[in-house]
């Protein structure tokens, strides 16, 4: 509410000299940051590709990362897959009941999971679990001079630290997407057949009719793109972190936000390109 006369004491609050100017300035600085990040990511990707194909090959480091990113994420991806499939079957069964088209629950769940939900949710899970750890680990190594130490020992830190992590993201996220596909379908089947009492035969036959190998393949391509992206973002933000513990915290927050937003944006663009 507007204030009464009695509260009208002292000078009026000073307005910014030019609101338009500060709005343009803040928009400009966000734009510059985004362009800087994209440029930095592209540069790092170029380095990773260059260093991945030339020796020395860091096989043990790669296996460690495959284990950490992939094997370590199976349980949460599977759990997430089962419940996503269950929720999706539950909701689509309610909708299809209205049209007596319950037999379409199976294909709907299968197509949505394989083409969209599996790669996106898997990438989000891996971002939270492995991306955050990668960013924090590299950030801590940067601020405690462990990355400088690698360089002084004539070891290329990008080849030693970043290449195995990015490859692990690229390889394991599509495989985890498959895990999500399978567990999601199982969850959908369980709710449709056991809870909702739909016909098991109809669920399976209709799903087989509608679901093509290309649908699964589309999910895997998306998984690979997301896996590459989230590992690259986590490594980029961690590798160039500065400013002690606070800096590492900020880098990890930025990596998580950029990865999550990027997954949804890439999902749209990869979908458009594939179709």
């Amino acid at each position: 509410m507007a204030s009464s006369d009695t509260t009208d004491v002292g000078p009026p609050p000073q307005k910014p000299p030019n609101p338009l100017y500060s709005a343009v300035e803040s928009f400009g600085s966000v734009f510059v940051n985004v362009v800087e990040d994209i440029g930095g990511l592209a540069q790092l990707l170029f380095q990773v590709v260059k260093l991945a194909i030339r020796p020395p090959y860091r096989v043990m480091n790669l296996f460690n990362q495959l284990d950490f990113v992939g094997v370590g994420s199976i349980f949460i991806v599977a759990l997430n897959g089962v419940f996503s499939g269950m929720v999706f079957a539950q909701q689509s069964a309610r909708a299809f009941e209205l049209f007596n088209a319950e037999s379409l629950v199976g294909p709907t769940v299968a197509l949505t999971i394989t083409r969209e939900l599996a790669p996106v949710f898997t990438a989000l899970m891996v971002t939270m679990r492995a991306g955050s750890a990668m960013c924090t680990e590299l950030g801590t190594m940067r601020v405690t001079e462990q990355i400088d130490a690698l360089e002084t020992m004539a070891v290329n830190p990008i080849q030693y630290l970043v290449v195995p992590r990015v490859l692990a993201g690229l390889i394991m996220v599509p495989l985890l997407t498959l895990v999500f596909d399978m567990t999601g379908l199982l969850g959908g089947y369980f709710v449709s057949v056991t809870v909702k009492g739909l016909s098991a035969g109809s669920f399976i036959t209709r799903t087989q009719q509608w679901l093509d190998a290309e649908d699964i393949f589309e999910g895997l391509i998306k998984g690979a793109v997301f896996g590459l992206f989230i590992a690259l973002v986590a490594c980029f933000k961690g590798y160039f972190a500065h400013g002690g513990a606070k800096g590492v915290g900020q880098a990890t927050t930025q990596a998580m936000v950029l990865s999550a937003v990027g997954i949804f944006m890439l999902d749209y663009f990869v979908g458009v390109i594939l179709h």
Binding site: M141, T144, E145, Q146, D148, A149, E151, T152, M153, A154, V155, N156
Partner: protein, 257 residues
């Protein structure tokens, strides 16, 4: 062919820095450094906080590129070098970091053996022997299976030195080796620097603001103030320096002792 500067000093110069300038944004950190490090000697770069010591040292090993000037290591100007050539140059160096910079996911043994695994084809038994010998030089034993987090600050620094000398480098760089250590450990680290020089014949460059330690280990001292070497020479010469900042800095120690 990289441009080189002939050494004018009678003893061979292993590192020579010529007119080195470095700025970060608006702030000019190094304003034309000229410095020579004779092979086999210990040079201490003394200076207060923010004088540019660490920046200067990072140029010696190619971790930073200057705005202008030359850094000549073993006869080659490393400033124009790319990543691959710099890797070759860095094999001549060992570096001991202020907080040791040990890999915290590895044991002491894995840390010290890391450069050997990277740059030699030694069999495991030989690696184990070399690691034990280098840990012996820095006065450590039975710590191989410990993690850096299980060690004290002084022990971590000694493991850092063992790792730095494991490939028998020509030059060892020490980044503030005695900062944050108690007087007894400081004395021990000083002895360790002298022992490394005596036993391995390495050239050492130490950056420090610890005057007592500097005067104990140095063959030469260079005093860095606001991005410039304002005075340099043997410790006894520097003690009689007429430069006001050097006098002020040294008074904080010699005034009391």
């Amino acid at each position: 062919m990289a441009p080189t500067q002939p050494a004018s000093a009678p003893e061979p110069t292993i590192i020579e820095i010529i007119e080195l300038h470095k700025s970060f944004g608006e702030s000019e950190v190094l304003k034309g450094i000229n410095l020579k490090v004779p092979a086999g000697s210990t040079l201490v770069i003394l200076g207060g906080s923010g004088s540019g010591k660490t920046v200067l040292m990072k140029h010696m090993i190619g971790l930073l590129k200057p705005n202008s000037g030359q850094v000549i290591v073993d006869g080659e100007d490393i400033v124009p070098f790319g990543a691959d050539s710099l890797e070759q140059v860095r094999r001549k160096f060992g570096m001991v970091f202020q907080a040791a910079a040990l890999f915290d996911s590895m044991t002491v043994y894995q840390n010290v053996s890391f450069p050997l695994r990277e740059h030699s084809k030694m069999p495991e038994a030989e690696i184990r022997e070399v690691v034990r010998q280098k840990l012996g030089i820095v006065g450590l034993k039975d710590v191989e299976e410990k993690f850096p987090s299980d060690l004290s600050g002084g022990m971590r620094k000694r493991v850092g030195l063992a790792r730095a000398i494991v490939l028998d480098p020509k030059i060892v760089l020490y980044d503030e080796p005695t900062t944050g250590l108690d007087p007894i450990t400081t004395d021990y680290v000083d002895e360790m620097i002298l022992d490394a020089k005596k036993q391995l014949g390495v050239t050492s460059v130490v950056i420090s603001h610890d005057i007592a330690s500097a005067f104990k280990v140095a063959d030469n001292i260079a005093f860095l103030y606001q991005g410039l070497i304002v005075d340099q020479g043997a410790p006894e010469k520097l003690r009689d320096s007429q430069h006001p900042q050097v006098k002020l800095f040294l008074q904080t120690w010699f005034g009391k002792n």
